[in-house]
Symmetry: C2
Subunit: 463 residues, 2 copies
């Protein structure tokens, strides 16, 4: 959006800061939502971020800003904060956000900060730190609101009122038995609307959708999305209720996973790196270089193959001219199939045992597109050969057109099959089909396309 309000905010804040107009600056910062302040910080020049952040008066607002900051700038931002300030903020934040910050600062500073924090916060943080950051345990908040089966509606409401603002997000009340095992769920509305002395066990729903601490965050997101939940309880291996993942965290996971899939498919790392300085360039280069190696190897292989056909090329120089279109079209068809299949798998719209059906389907799509563009290219190739007849030492414009057309069609079919088969097989082997399939598929398609091309030339033109 070109009319994003944060742009105006950035300009105003920088102007006031430059002028030293601290009072109006503070007034603006106080009147802005923490989520917008987090975006403001992100669009400030790097050296201005910490100073403006420190001007926000409310500790709770500063804590919230910190928890909303984009991962791509979080690390550098944390370096600009003093340990004492950071500890005060960590103690104010929700435990799951505290842990995110502790993970971002690196092991050495993490140990130092934990040593400075209040012991109760340390215990909570350490309990969460033992989970994989991308698992249900890693994204959950440990404050699930649970009551026992025998609690009455009236007691439940009294407890809720006593807890007050701690429970802003308590839409579900979980019910546990004497062993802390999760046995039921009910909504705040159900409690409010039942008669005061009904025990919760009578009004609760015993079928609770739940996830395990070790479940992948992608699975958690899929479950919340599938069943339209506002929160999902997290249990340990003994079905003991240990936490809660709320829908706002799930939204972050869904966006993060979509970003990760897109970047991985393009071979551009896992996170969006946007640092505009030298460090940003270096870290981007580092995350993109390895995937380019696959493409480089494939390209060199293609070079050696073409070099092997140099004899044919010297007889029909025009063959070289059509190499880019053959491999380029193949690459695009491969990317189309790959994207559709990878996304279909991620959304659960394709099952892994549909391999043969799915690949057959893409085969026919590749064939249809291949026949159409093959005929078009064959005609163009034939005409070009007709005008360049002197250089055509073998075959004739018709066999040349046939070669070009048939091999384009073949390359497109190969691309559709490889582009759909590879992610299906990766999924079956439990490898994320988004990981580097992009460079892998285009490289395979390049090599196979060139072999098809020179194969067709050898057979059809009799070179």
């Amino acid at each position: 959006m070109s009319n994003d309000p944060v742009k105006v905010l950035v300009d105003t804040v920088l102007k006031l800061q430059r002028r030293g107009a601290h009072k109006p600056l503070r007034k603006i910062l106080d009147g802005t939502h923490p989520a917008d302040l987090a975006r403001l910080i992100q669009f400030l020049p790097e050296h201005q971020r910490a100073p403006i952040f420190q001007r926000v008066e409310e500790l709770s607002t500063r804590a919230e800003i910190l928890s909303e900051l984009n991962p791509s700038i979080l690390e550098d931002f944390l370096e600009a904060l003093k340990d004492e300030d950071l500890v005060t903020l960590l103690e104010e934040m929700d435990p799951d956000d505290t842990v995110d910050v502790l993970v971002a600062v690196g092991d050495e500073r993490k140990t130092r900060l934990l040593g400075m924090m209040r012991s109760e916060e340390v215990d909570e943080a350490e309990a969460l730190l033992k989970y994989d950051p991308e698992s249900a345990g890693g994204i959950m908040s440990p404050d699930a609101f649970a009551l026992t089966e025998k609690t009455s509606s009236a007691q439940a409401i009294a407890t809720l009122q006593a807890k007050g603002s701690e429970l802003e997000m308590a839409f579900y009340i979980y019910v546990v038995n004497d062993h802390d095992h999760l046995v039921g769920v009910l909504s705040l509305r159900q409690v409010v609307m039942s008669s005061p002395d009904t025990p919760l066990s009578q009004i609760m729903d015993p079928d609770v959708v739940r996830v395990n601490t070790s479940d992948d965050q992608e699975l958690v997101a899929r479950i919340v999305a599938r069943y339209n939940l506002l929160a999902v309880p997290v249990v340990d291996e003994n079905n003991r209720l240990v936490g809660l993942v709320t829908v706002d965290d799930v939204i972050d996971v869904i966006r993060e996973e979509a970003t990760e899939d897109m970047l991985r498919m393009a071979g551009a790392g896992d996170d969006i790196e946007l640092g505009l300085d030298a460090d940003g360039v270096i870290s981007s280069t580092r995350s993109r270089l390895p995937w380019l190696f696959a493409s480089w190897m494939g390209g060199v292989a293609a070079s050696f193959i073409i070099h092997g056909f140099e004899d044919q090329l010297s007889k029909v120089a025009l063959l070289a001219a059509f190499i880019p279109v053959i491999i380029g079209m193949g690459g695009n068809v491969g990317t189309q199939s790959l994207t559709v299949i990878t996304r279909g798998l991620a959304l659960g719209q394709i099952q892994v045992d549909q391999l043969v059906k799915v690949v057959m389907r893409e085969f026919f799509v590749g064939l249809s597109c291949g026949v159409i563009y093959g005929i078009l290219l064959g005609v163009v190739g034939g005409i070009l050969a007709r005008f360049d007849i002197d250089n055509l030492q073998f075959g004739n414009p018709i066999t040349f057109g046939l070669t070009i057309g048939a091999s384009l069609c073949a390359a497109m079919i190969i691309a559709a099959v490889v582009g759909s088969g590879v992610p299906m097989i990766f999924q079956r082997l439990s490898i994320d089909p988004a990981v580097a399939t992009g460079p892998f598929v285009t490289t395979a398609v390049d090599v196979l396309g060139i072999l098809a091309y020179f194969g067709a030339a050898t057979v059809l033109m009799g070179i």
Copy 2:
């Protein structure tokens, strides 16, 4: 997931249906969550979908299944249902879901169905049908729960209790003035915890984040995600409260928009087409063909350019061998930049006025990667030329290696600049940067890469 429970369900249901074991079949269907039934239907063979669906006894469950069905199979599925059955379902569904179905059946049947529905449902549906399906008005539910400013807490609770189960999703209570203008918001918890005779105007928060009926669904999703909301109220141009978008709908929008962006970038249409029959192949072919045309045109342009350099190729045949690696690496670098920038723009992490900074940054990333792989390729090219010295009528292995290396580096820089500049410029022109930038960028990179290649050969080898 290979252990998806829906697979087991599909097998069991098909077995029972084949055996005519209707009673156990019904029992299984009754015990399954509607969201899982929707997924079951999706993975059944097409001719079995409607018969199994009809076996689900509860009308409300069937309605819910229908609202959860994947858009990619919804159209065909609806054709298998009789008008009378569909009308009963439509009357049971939430108005926003009813409208989705009415849009999917096509204009003719929509008019027929509206003629058969109860007039109150028709009014609601027609009110929603006038909005763009991808706007806030198009995805909202018209049942926002609102009370007037003067209502007391006690009255509010009484009204809530009277409304009962209609309000499953009422986490916020919106407050309106005498003109139905939205003036405040409060949570159910705030009402429960205030003293009974407090008027809502005293406890409400007057700063309500809201969206307009005409706002794009992507903006709605971004606002709900940014402020961690469970629902956002929708107002008309006069600030009158007309509906509500809940977080579960927002999750669907976020997934849909991510899918759309991925497919568009790959030039594979807007929706995942997964039909495994002939119709599916035809509609997939139709959605992919146009984008391939850009690539085809670019490829043909490249062919003509190479044809123009035929003289140079005949002198140094080895030049042809390195065409694929130059344009392939360029294509991959372009896709990397394109993906990072397009996703950064979609997530609001890059602002459109950062054009120069962003392109400069990608220039340096392209340069870094280009220098590294350029040197590697130059060495390989030089060695290959050394062993093929007889065919090298111009230059020497060193100038050949220099040509290959320098032009790879140039192609990669060009790709990074085009891959980042094009989406930034598209965004500034208010064109979705995901639309077909993929084929567009790779095609531009092909043509420019080849020009750089033969340009370098002409200058460095003096051909």
